[in-house]
């Protein structure tokens, strides 16, 4: 069966996705880009251009370059929106015979659906070439506020482009589908869509088998492009203050400013400050001028803060309109490139008191969701093939009561993983396997799934035995844990049926707990790791001194013994830095001893302890008090 495309036909950019091997995937266009500008033009030489090529000639051909067609589609010429848009759109509009809108390009008038069809046509051709087969069916997304006429016109655009339009899908619904929220019965979802030119807010409700739009709102002239403009203006103003030169008249300088502003905006999503560096930006009376200034995240947030506040105010209002309270909202989905901005994420998080969903690329999430819908229509997403993931980390308790992860959360099951551990004390003959589930660093903060003991380990120095622990989860979520002593082949195992039977609430609570205690846990864990290091180095020191016997200079021996004592005293304290310095003091003294021993080395005195254990142990079991 031929594939069905999912298309996000956007105001400024469009994207295409398809289901491949059961997973939605964005398809690149002919130019190798994952999004295509929603722009159509007829060039001065008479060629029809779509996408990036149309954009590249828009400056010198504004009257014949059509963009933002989505603002016109399905509307009446007398709509108040159209009246407003006519004031700033550079191309010519006229009223059609039936009261609709027609747009002039070169000498001909086109209906908006014909223009959108040209964009869809390009997407169709490029996708067909990329997939290797013609695609004739499509799911197209539209804003949730689109009325019947706008939906019909969008459908007509698809048909003109030669598609069979299988579904006109709401953009917020698509975003929710991309995250698989159609399976979350009786939940309320907010989709916060901050695009390049428009801001849309939707409240959705997932019922038995539909996703219903409860309320929509937004601002059709608020978007990331406004942010760029503010930044450009700020830089130009600063430069004028510094050098007295106005850059806004110089097209090349402005172009460079625009690129620098976009780059700075992107960088400030991950760093706190960036440098704008544009050498030779212009020339003054005294020669060339350079633009060098620092731009910080705080400055950016000051520049655009009012626009973010506006979007938050709209969000609050729309949630009220939907009849829900902010606390009723179960999930928030972020859509649109601008939502990468930390200040926006923070504002949304603060408003709802929840972490918004943003793991899927916000520029692509709507197209991805359209492809998911297409997949449902073509029957590719079959239930029996759906594989589960483990919701929480699974692991065992190791030395110092820490949890060592064996299978990390979000691993697709069925799966099996194993790791080799060793003993923590000399002549330790048994180990306890304490199977844990959870997100926290310390064993006692996680849920105990089982405990069992593997005994009969032949007495040997610590770190020498190799005990392989294997975790195996089958497709039904049944966890088997096996511990095997590699030397004797002796093994012990346990089957845990209930490993995945945690309720959703329980999983959420555990995840939240982990977030809440992340810092504190990390500190505890670091302390334990330091103590373990301390124990190990004390052991090595004492052993080395014993082994070396008379070969070591008494002064050196005393020095080490003292430092061991200091470390023994500090290691159980709470001050990590003290332990660290005691550790490094001892280890540098120990190196000196090593040098001395090496110099007088005889072949029957190999330093076997360190080398052999390094290969084996990733962690050590806690010593059992009752071992025999």
């Amino acid at each position: 069966m031929s594939k069905i495309l999912g298309i996000d036909l956007g105001t400024t950019n469009s994207a295409v996705a398809v289901i491949e091997a059961g997973e939605p995937k964005i398809i690149e266009n002919k130019e190798g880009n994952r999004t295509t500008p929603s722009i159509v033009a007829i060039s001065k030489s008479g060629d029809r251009l779509v996408g990036l090529l149309a954009k590249r000639q828009s400056v010198t051909n504004p009257k014949n370059t059509l963009f933002s067609i989505k603002r016109l589609i399905g509307r009446k010429f007398n709509d108040s929106e159209i009246k407003k848009d006519r004031e700033w759109l550079p191309y010519e509009l006229k009223e059609s015979a039936n009261g609709g809108v027609e747009i002039k390009m070169q000498d001909k008038f086109y209906r908006p659906e014909e223009v959108s069809a040209m964009i869809l046509q390009k997407l169709k051709t490029d996708a067909g070439e990329k997939i290797g087969e013609a695609v004739n069916e499509v799911v197209i997304t539209v804003p949730a506020y689109f009325d019947d006429a706008q939906r019909k016109a969008t459908q007509a655009a698809g048909e003109i482009a030669g598609f069979k339009v299988r579904r006109i899908l709401n953009e917020p619904t698509a975003a929710a589908l991309a995250y698989g929220f159609n399976k979350k019965k009786d939940e309320q979802i907010v989709v916060y869509d901050f695009g390049g030119g428009t801001f849309d807010l939707s409240v959705l409700e997932v019922t038995a088998d539909t996703i219903e739009v409860k309320a929509v709102g937004g601002d059709t002239h608020l978007g990331g492009d406004d942010f760029d403009q503010k930044i450009i203006k700020w830089i130009a103003d600063e430069f004028k203050k510094q050098e007295g030169i106005d850059l806004s008249k110089d097209t090349l300088a402005l172009q460079r400013l625009k690129e620098a502003a976009e780059k700075a905006k992107h960088e400030l999503s991950t760093t706190n400050e960036t440098e704008l560096n544009l050498p030779f930006i212009t020339s003054g009376d005294s020669g060339p001028k350079h633009l060098v200034m620092r731009f910080s995240r705080t400055q950016l947030e000051k520049l655009v803060g009012d626009m973010i506040d506006k979007s938050i105010a709209i969000t609050k209002q729309v949630v009220v309109d939907s009849g829900f309270k902010l606390s009723d909202i179960d999930e928030i989905v972020l859509v649109g490139g601008q939502t990468r901005m930390p200040a926006i994420i923070e504002a949304v998080r603060k408003l709802f008191g929840k972490e918004p969903n943003r793991t899927i690329n916000p520029d692509e999430v709507v197209a991805i969701g359209a492809a998911v819908q297409a997949g449902i229509l073509q029957g590719e997403v079959k239930d029996i093939l759906l594989l589960d993931v483990t919701p929480l980390n699974l692991g065992i308790e190791t030395l110092g009561s820490v949890m060592t992860k064996i299978i990390e959360k979000n691993t697709t099951v069925p799966t099996a993983k194993s790791q080799v551990f060793s003993t923590a004390a000399d002549s330790q003959t048994s180990v306890e396997i304490h199977v844990l589930q959870g997100e926290r660093e310390m064993a006692q903060d996680n849920k105990t799934l089982a405990r069992f003991i593997l005994d009969g380990i032949p007495p040997s120095p610590r770190g020498l035995p190799q005990i392989e622990v294997t975790f195996d989860i089958d497709a039904n979520g049944v966890l088997s844990v096996k511990a095997k002593d590699k030397a004797t082949g002796k093994e012990q195992s346990v089957r845990i049926e209930a490993s995945s039977s945690l309720s959703k609430e329980e999983i959420e609570r555990m995840k939240k707990d982990a977030q809440l205690h992340a810092d504190e846990d990390r500190q505890k864990r670091e302390l334990v790791d330091l103590r373990n290091q301390a124990d190990s180095i004390i052991y090595t020191s004492e052993k080395s001194l014993r082994d070396a016997g008379e070969k070591v200079d008494p002064a050196m021996k005393k020095d080490i013994e003292e430092k061991v004592e200091i470390l023994k005293k500090t290691k159980d304290g709470q001050n990590g830095n003290e332990i660290k310095s005691a550790l490094s003091n001892l280890s540098s003294s120990l190196q000196k001893i090593g040098e001395v021993l090496y110099k007088q080395a005889s072949p029957e005195k190999p330093e076997d302890n360190n080398t052999s254990s390094e290969n084996v142990k990733e962690a050590e079991f806690e010593e059992k008090k009752d071992d025999k």
């Binding site: 091997a21 059961g22 130019e31 190798g32 060039s43 001065k44 030489s45 251009l49 090529l53 149309a54 590249r56 000639q57 400056v59 010198t60 051909n61 097209t251 090349l252 172009q255 460079r256 690129e259 544009l278 050498p279 030779f280 020339s283 020669g287 060339p288 079959k382 029996i384 093939l385």
Partner: protein
């Protein structure tokens, strides 16, 4: 129908259900295995693409530095300084060339072609209207693909 016949019919039903399930599972398994094999095959290509993508991102970030050299050379420098800057620029360009960067050749009077040009304005010129009057920023190809079009001003007739 006797009890035995009813029982037989039920058994046939169960068997049919099993057969169907068996088929579904085998289908799913085969499909998963095929997907996996294809994925493995594609992985090499994907890694290659990824490497290309990473380099092209880096080169895109570097292009403004090339521009700055061009801009510097457009200003009055002492003869030796100019030669020095020119040498640094060509040193720099050599490295990028070896990685697959290629300058798009554009001259005044060339026809405007949006596949390799981006117009940023118009200027009065001797050249035919609508053709390239001046190149204000060089364009580049990276491994056949245009990673940045040449920024040009188009000719318009003298009034």
């Amino acid at each position: 129908m006797s009890d035995e016949e009813i029982k037989k019919e039920e058994e046939v039903g169960v068997l049919e259900k099993c057969e169907k399930e068996k088929k579904d599972y085998l289908d799913g398994w085969q499909r998963a295995k095929a997907d996996f094999l294809n994925y493995k095959k594609d992985e090499g290509r994907r890694l290659e693409d990824m490497a290309k993508f990473v380099i092209s991102g880096l080169i895109q970030d570097i292009l403004p530095i090339m521009d700055s050299f061009d801009l510097a050379l457009g200003h009055d420098l002492s003869k030796e300084s100019e030669r020095g800057v020119l040498l640094i620029r060509s040193q720099f360009e050599d490295v990028l060339k070896k990685r697959g960067l290629e300058q798009i050749k554009t001259e005044s009077g060339d026809n405007f072609n949006p596949e390799v040009h981006e117009s940023i304005g118009e200027v009065e010129s001797e050249h035919t209207e609508g053709t390239v009057a001046e190149v204000v920023q060089k364009g580049y190809r990276f491994r056949e693909r245009v990673i940045r079009p040449a920024r040009v001003r188009l000719a318009k007739n003298k009034k």
